[in-house]
Amino acid sequence: MSSPRTGRRGRAPVLKAYGILVFLFLYFPMVIVVLFSFSPTRTIVGLSGLTLKWYQELFRDPALLTAFWHTILIGLAAVAIATVFGTAGAFFISRVEFPGKGVFRALVMLPFLLPGIIMGLTLLIFFRNLGVQLSAFTILMGHVSFTTPLVMFQVTSRLSRMGPTYRWAAMDLGATPFQTLIHVTLPMIRTALIGAGLLAFTVSFDEIVISYFLTGTWMTLPVYIYGMLRFGLSPKVYAISTIIVILSLVLIIFMAKYTGRSAETYRVRKKQG
């Protein structure tokens, strides 16, 4: 009896209208930012022509370009460190049994679950007590704190769905644990690693709540833009915001390609072929 279900699907006009409203609510603000970045005047009511001059102005702001570069650097470094720690953690949590594992898992998840303000202030207090000056290093550690669980749980979920059978098969065929890791496990979690890395980079690229606590004079882009906001919303702010939106979208599209079940089946099928 599948006909009632298929019959029900596709109707519900009120729900659909409501859904469209929520979509408008979700996308309208982003459209506004993009429109303002191309507007020669500061309003969009009576938008007269489009201009790229605000984008040209961005390139004449060396401090902004430096901040942009810093953000990329922090993102790459955070992803590199988080991938190592997170992947090791994923192997640990999915293969090693010990009492109190639930508590351990919860502690690892904390930076993800707690409000950013708590991570920010605890790290600030920690570093200042150790006499560490606020610098690129403190920002990087802040970013490592929240990107590591992201990588770890992406890899853990891939490992748990993969199951231990492939690994056992490799061992039965005489592979050493190291060979099994290099030739079986790592290729199978490769797409999860890439997806997790992209996710971690995207989150790091936009992060401000924790970074704001840990920033001295060395700034990342969101903190720099936050400083620009003190002088009001300038067209330059919209231009850099638009660039950030586009970059995020590109990263998300790549991320979608590498995470999820589709990436996994592709990988396995290719192996068999």
Partner: protein, 287 residues
């Protein structure tokens, strides 16, 4: 199944993540806890342990009033986020056949688009020379820009709801997708109409996702300080700003540490209580 304990050599795998956890989570929390018992005297920090900060928090009604105001607002934001995200998740999961994956992506894309850009967008929309005011002026509904949109709790609520919608959508959608579709068929076959099926079958099964989404948005809204700073004005001083200001111009780190620790306890209690009902991961950390 009895839980076995792995051989000691296996625990070497846990060294990196344990180091990370101690260095960036546990020890910083411990430092904060200790500092919350110090006191601040001018620019110096007095390291004699005392309960002064906690006493100040619990005796001066100013602070608990701000905390309750923030909790009330966070509650409103959670309800609004569920009101927006739950019908959307139900629509995508149950009513859409073609293009479902694309719609799902479209619902969660805002999550990964810069938090700061989204704040800038709402300032642009709500501001005195913003989109709403310009539109109302152009339509001749008002003659002067009206200031009711920005720098109040309304501005915080709308922006944080906007931020929280994907955080509710993901766990709710994950829960809805897990509902076996033949349960719906069974309910229909037994003569239940769509409303009854929704109330008696779908809603109870979606509850863990709803609880997770609710908790996520509540904690995000309660802990946020950037949005109240940017859009709240003087009327919108929230607990997050209060904590932040102790590290900024108020320069009272020990009191800030105590306030931060109180927020930590609130978050942990909420997470602990609801971990029984929802899944804490809520489909975020898995794929």
């Amino acid at each position: 199944m009895a839980r076995r304990v792995s051989s000691p050599r296996e625990f070497l795998k846990g060294v990196p993540i344990t180091v990370w956890m101690l260095a960036l989570v546990v020890v910083p929390l411990a430092f904060t806890f200790v500092m919350s018992f110090y006191t601040s005297s001018g620019l110096m920090i007095d390291q004699t342990l005392s309960l002064a900060n906690y006493k100040l928090f619990f005796t001066d009604p100013l602070y608990s009033r701000i905390l309750f105001k923030s909790m009330r607002l966070a509650l409103a934001i959670s309800v609004l986020s569920i009101g927006a995200a739950f019908p959307l998740a139900y629509l995508v999961s149950f009513k859409i056949q073609r293009g479902r994956n694309l719609l799902f992506m479209l619902c969660i894309i805002p999550l990964w688009v810069s938090y700061l850009v989204r704040i800038i967008a709402w300032r642009t929309i709500l501001g005195n020379r913003g989109v709403i005011n310009s539109a109302l002026l152009a339509l001749g509904i008002i003659r002067e820009p009206i200031t009711v949109f920005l720098y109040n709790q309304f501005a915080i609520a709308i922006t944080l709801t906007y931020i929280c919608i994907p955080f509710v959508f993901i766990p709710v959608y994950t829960a809805l997708e897990k509902i076996p579709r033949n349960l719906i068929d069974a309910s229909n076959d037994l003569g239940a109409n769509e409303v009854r099926t929704f109330v008696n079958v779908i809603l109870p099964l979606a509850l863990p996702g709803l609880v997770t989404g609710f908790i996520f948005s509540f904690i995000i809204a309660l802990g946020d300080y950037i949005i109240p700073l940017q859009l709240g004005g003087t009327e919108g001083i929230m607990f997050g700003n209060l904590v932040w200001s102790q590290f900024g111009f108020a320069f009272n780190w020990p009191f800030g540490a105590a306030l931060g620790f109180i927020l930590f306890i609130i978050a942990v209690v909420i997470l602990g209580v609801t971990a029984r009902f929802g899944t804490t991961e809520g489909g975020f950390l898995g794929e």
